[in-house]
Symmetry: C2
Subunit: 354 residues, 2 copies
């Protein structure tokens, strides 16, 4: 299927979190229906999507019925079981492609693939056991971070090694999960590029944003990033190279470190990305609509920014400030409809024009 979807067609989305929710809103704006597939009951996206299937990824009947109801399938997170994807793909195209998922699901595969593409990445090593960790620490040095190869997000599944004697505890904390050791990169700032590629192979990027993390969770993204124009161009070219190498269709988040020796790729996410939420208020066509346009085979927007923006995530107890934020005349609030506020839980974000 290479023809653009017509209004009235249905996009299937695997995952019903806030990203699925905001994708649903963007799809409805283009007259497209959304069917969400999500194991958990009453997820954030259920409110804004047209249809929802509540079933586990092991339910073959539910997966088949879901696929048949959709014209194309996309996803809002990368850790989807391979068997479910195999089954879905028998019925409908999955965009972005399986290869992007395979690579980004595994930190070790991802680092290797990016390095093979000729891009700079942090020093890394495959960790199978205590012996390989010792060898890796000798080569990479401490401090370093031991991470599970799969299923990590927002700083989870990670242990910092400050000195070789921390190695055993760090390894034990991962409970035997396959792991990767990553060396620290000495960077001045972290930026990210939200890039999109259409079915026609055209690439469009939003301006790089500058990210600030705290406790492993993104706190703010500011555009424009305080980097020279030449570096912004480099970042966009690198992102474009990654998408084109994958024959990618959709939006990807590419996180980069700014270092003295140029840009180092931190990680890629084959989906809309928290650091791209500023586009909702800084651009005519935001990252969510851009992703929907790509997977629906529509022409992409050009990514042009009309305003400078600071995006602030509202996490856990940040919700105590809600009344105050709601009273800021120029603050665009985006809440995710989550009933329960928990420490570390992303409840919403606010975009402020600068």
């Amino acid at each position: 299927m290479t023809k653009p979807l017509s209004p009235g067609a249905t996009i299937g989305i695997l995952g019903g979190g806030q990203l699925g929710r905001m994708l649903s809103v963007a799809a409805s704006r283009l007259g497209l229906h959304v069917h969400i597939y999500e194991p958990a009951a009453n997820p954030p996206a259920s409110e804004t999507a047209d249809r929802i299937t509540t079933a586990p990824y092991e339910d073959h009947d539910a997966l088949t019925a879901f696929a048949k109801d959709c014209d194309v399938i996309t996803y809002e997170f990368e850790n989807i079981p391979t068997e479910a994807l195999d089954l879905l793909e028998q019925h409908r195209p999955i965009r972005p492609c399986r290869e992007a998922l395979r690579i980004s699901q595994d930190r070790l595969t991802e680092k290797g693939w990016l390095a093979d593409l000729g891009l700079q990445v942090a020093p890394f090593a495959d960790i199978k056991d205590a012996a390989s960790l010792d060898t890796a620490l000798e080569r990479i040095g401490a401090p370093a971070i031991l991470k599970t190869r799969r299923f990590g997000y927002d700083g989870k599944g990670q242990a910092r090694i400050n000195a070789p004697e921390d190695a055993a505890d760090a390894l034990a904390s991962l409970n035997g999960a396959p792991a990767i050791l990553e060396g620290f990169v000495s960077f001045t700032r972290e930026i990210s590029v939200i890039a999109a590629r259409g079915l026609d192979g055209r690439v469009a990027c939003f301006d790089p944003g500058e990210n600030v993390h705290r406790e492993g969770i993104l706190r703010t993204t500011t555009v424009p990033a305080t980097i020279p124009h030449s570096l912004a161009t480099d970042a966009v070219l690198m992102a474009s190279r990654i998408l084109t190498a994958l024959d990618y269709v959709g939006v990807m988040g590419v996180e980069l470190f700014v270092t003295d020796t140029g840009l180092v790729v931190n990680e890629i996410a084959p989906r809309v990305h928290n650091s791209g939420h500023w586009t909702q208020n800084g651009c005519q066509i935001d990252q969510f609509e851009q992703h929907i346009r790509a997977v629906a085979g529509w022409p992409l927007g050009d990514g042009k920014r009309h305003s400078d923006v600071e995006m602030e995530n509202l996490i856990g107890e940040d919700m105590d400030r809600l009344a105050q934020i709601a009273a800021e005349p120029g603050a665009a609030l985006h809440l995710y409809g989550k009933a329960e506020t928990r420490p570390g839980r992303k409840m919403g974000h606010v975009n402020r024009l600068r």
Copy 2:
């Protein structure tokens, strides 16, 4: 109830058309649920709202259950049967107020009320029969327009009288409905002010937009309007006076004619308005969120505009240009999810930054 609604609360909306749809999206962005009440099956808003009741306005049980499920009730159109409103109001507050509905439901009442407030309106007369029409035509002169007092929209329920001999046919075309004769106003342009008033009595207005109609239907709204700054200020002050006089809570569309003797009020609509759709891409907080904020008791946004915008309605066969519009890099498309395209039917709109 004067406390602001908390996220998780429910706003009831009477009417499930495109205005209800876009109000739903705005409410979900603030973490508020929406329950739509609409007699027709599968209306545009059903896709983006959390809950929907499909029942006629004469179904007292359905109305009562709907009201009890909501924290506050608002509406997307003005022709709601009085009896239904009486019943709903026994259970929950209706915002904007009943008085605004009573006045705007009837062209004659509206013109009289605006004139009593000291605002300029077109010459008008109550038409009960052929004799009163003759008398009115003598005073007001031809050309003039005979309109039904109630239930008119988008140019429907109107007959133009070019000369006294057209009077009988014009009157017959209204099938005996109570009518008003309105004289023509010689105007250079039509503008509208989208004004909002909060529970706290504060008023915020968006910049006046300049409207172009064709065949009685709005085609484009452009901001800023090409009028002197002093006139823009007058328009905003007039709108503010109307809202304050009504102790209004919510967004109102105020249509004004620009004439040699100043601004003449054409009509008021006690709801979000087609001529305010540009705010979706020209402002941080658009008319839909502004209305939701008002009826939810939240502080209003300030109405500040960050970009110049032209809004174009997509009506009937305009949908043939969809592929072309989708390919304009800076065109923000908003479709209403209507399955069937019909001549004269509003299918969507597009906002272009200028």
